[in-house]
């Protein structure tokens, strides 16, 4: 398995005056207007702000699912603008984990199979996949639910499965976009706790949230307005 040569030294991801403009029929939309941000290993960073302020756009740029219109995103030592689509996909696969508000678990797969998906794509051997999947589900407290399908799980359990899936290939960076948006307050706090624990283990965690209580669980908080950090 040939992965990206992750630089253990230095920031995991670094946004330098990053802008993102969406061309629209009437007037272009300036979603990001020059954001500079550094995320180090072991950081739990929350990004808060009103709807449409550019939080998710920034998260997508940091994770390499989108490229800046201007400025630079340096992800694990490499500027994303210069990378091919395939190279960027490979970096995401091996070094970045995503957690989404709507979980996006595949309903026809069991919890274990959902967790194993990124490992299959990365070419991890079956025995290692089984070992790692079991450990990850145990890690998020769902060791006994491996064979359950998403429809048989609660919202909090589905998000835990999604977190386990995001951790499947031992990423350096975990990005969570409104991870508690569809959960009740108690479950949301539990998920926040899991993310904090992961950051304490050395993972860089960036979380976008509307929830002030959840944002307060992060060890570093930033706010955004109109495409800028404030």
């Amino acid at each position: 398995m040939s992965g990206h040569p992750y630089q253990a030294q230095g920031p995991v991801v670094h946004a330098q005056v990053a802008t993102r403009v969406y061309p629209m029929p009437g007037e272009p939309v300036h979603a990001l207007r020059g954001v500079t941000l550094v995320v180090e290993r072991g950081t739990f960073l929350s990004i808060a702000g009103p709807s449409g302020c550019g939080k998710s756009t920034l998260l997508h740029l940091l994770g390499g699912v989108d490229r800046p219109t201007d400025g630079t995103i340096v992800l694990l030592g490499r500027a994303t603008r210069g990378l091919s689509d395939g190279a960027l996909a490979r970096i995401r696969l091996l070094h970045v984990g995503f957690v989404f508000q709507r979980f996006f678990l595949l309903p026809m797969l069991t919890a274990a199979e959902n967790v194993a998906l990124p490992m299959i794509e990365a070419g991890v051997a079956a025995a290692e996949r089984r070992r790692r999947t079991g450990a990850l589900l145990e890690r998020v407290g769902l060791g006994g639910r491996a064979s359950h399908r998403p429809g048989q799980l609660s919202g909090g359990e589905m998000q835990r499965v999604a977190i386990a899936r995001a951790l499947a290939n031992h990423p350096a960076l975990l990005l969570a976009d409104e991870p508690t948006g569809e959960l009740d307050e108690t479950t949301g706090r539990e998920i926040g706790g899991v993310l904090r624990e992961l950051s304490q283990e050395g993972l860089a965690v960036v979380m976008v949230t509307h929830n002030a209580d959840l944002a307060a669980m992060a060890d570093r908080q930033v706010r955004m307005r109109d495409g800028l950090l404030v």
Partner: protein, 409 residues
């Protein structure tokens, strides 16, 4: 690849009722496609199977004709057959005479087709019951004694439809009525065997008799033949022998089995055109069905696909996944298409075989490995093409915009 197939299959299984309906629809169009593929070369394949069973590698006919297509004769057929038989790679050369006769029995005269074959010749027909001409007591009827009762072998139609049995004595006449009979010969014959003559029409009466007796009855000069059948020790050299024969005797055409089938196939182009048009329509319907269903299915899963891309699944892998769904639909429908196609072909074959002038041993729809493989290949390609349309759209998917849209919707 196995994981992609597994994932694709489970994607289809998410909507079992819809997938089952697509399988049924594709089975119907696939069945029609199979039938058209069977029809395209069916008659040729069926003819080839029957001719192969006879075991003759080369057929020699008067130039510009096909076997028994008219009254033309190879004038010195016996001599040509002897020359062919003298070649070391030839094991037998059988001159055959064909003629229309009347069989008289209990005051009825039934038109029949007679094959004049040398006694001892094998393979022109297959004996089902009784004895062959060569084994019967007066088989050596190559002399000229016209009052002798000559042995004949008749076909099943004559046995079934006219109640003719082994040992029955019949009278063969060259003309239908008693007035003209004075000018043409008659011959008393005894039925010694019942045989399959391969190319009989559904109610056609056929019989085999010694060449000499038939010539005498017809008043034909000795030595002529309607057809020479050649059996070889190495049939793969049939084309070379056919070239040698036509070079030696320019008044004949000589065909290897393949050449004969090709000539016959060229006369059946309307079947090919018919099957091509209907087969293309079937494939187009299958394509539209697959493309529509996979496009709908992909449209319902854009968020999941964007998630897979965000997790690091490559664009190519997603395209593979969608293509696999299209192909799996085609593969899943194939057993149904095969079964339904065979049932439909059986019934269509019966309808077409009821048309006048079609030999009862031939079939318009032949289930050959080639027809099955070709149908499977076309269905699989249709599945891939049907998946290609939504796959191409998915390949252009903007991950971030799709994730955003799916989250706020």
């Amino acid at each position: 690849m196995q994981s992609v197939m597994s994932l694709a299959w489970r994607g289809l299984a998410r909507a079992p009722a819809r997938t089952a309906l697509v399988f049924v629809g594709l089975s119907v169009t696939g069945a029609l496609l199979l039938d058209m593929t069977m029809l395209a070369g069916g008659l040729e394949a069926s003819l080839g199977a029957v001719l192969s069973r006879l075991g003759f590698a080369v057929r020699v006919v008067p130039r510009g004709t096909m076997p028994f297509s008219g009254d033309a004769e190879i004038t010195d057929g016996d001599r040509l057959a002897a020359a062919i038989a003298a070649r070391p790679d030839v094991t037998a050369a059988v001159p055959v005479v064909g003629a229309n006769l009347y069989v008289r029995r209990d005051g009825r005269r039934v038109p029949s087709f007679a094959l004049g074959v040398p006694t001892g010749a094998q393979g022109v027909y297959t004996l089902l019951r009784g004895q062959d001409l060569a084994a019967s007591p007066s088989a050596g009827a190559d002399g000229s004694e016209g009052n002798e009762v000559v042995p004949i072998v008749v076909n099943e139609n004559m046995a079934r439809l006219d109640g003719v049995g082994l040992g029955d004595v019949l009278v063969l006449a060259g003309t239908p009525g008693p007035l003209l009979q004075a000018f043409a010969g008659v011959q008393r014959v005894r039925v010694v065997g019942i045989a399959d003559f391969y190319f009989d029409l559904p109610s056609q009466r056929s019989l085999a008799i010694s060449t000499a007796a038939l010539r005498r009855l017809q008043g034909r000069p000795a030595g002529g033949a309607s057809l020479i059948l050649v059996r070889m020790s190495d049939p793969s050299r049939a084309d070379a022998l056919a070239r040698w024969i036509t070079a030696r005797e320019p008044r004949v055409d000589a065909f290897s089995l393949q050449e004969f089938l090709a000539r016959t196939g060229a006369k059946l182009t309307y079947f090919n055109q018919f099957s091509l048009i209907l087969g293309t329509i079937s494939a187009a319907v299958a394509f539209l069905l697959i493309a529509t269903i996979v496009t709908l299915s992909v449209g319902e899963r854009l968020g999941e696909i964007a998630m897979l891309r965000a997790l690091g699944f490559s664009r190519a892998r997603i395209v593979e996944l969608i293509l696999a769904e299209g192909m799996l639909l085609a593969v899943g429908a194939f057993p149904g298409a095969l079964l339904l196609g065979m049932v439909m072909a059986h019934n269509l074959d019966r309808i077409l075989l009821a048309a006048p002038g079609v030999p009862q041993n031939l079939h318009f729809f032949s289930l050959t490995p080639r027809a099955v493989l070709r149908t499977a290949g076309i269905l699989l390609a249709t599945g891939a093409l049907g998946g290609l349309v939504p796959a191409a759209a998915t390949a252009r998917l903007e991950i971030a915009a799709t994730l955003h849209r799916e989250t706020v919707s």
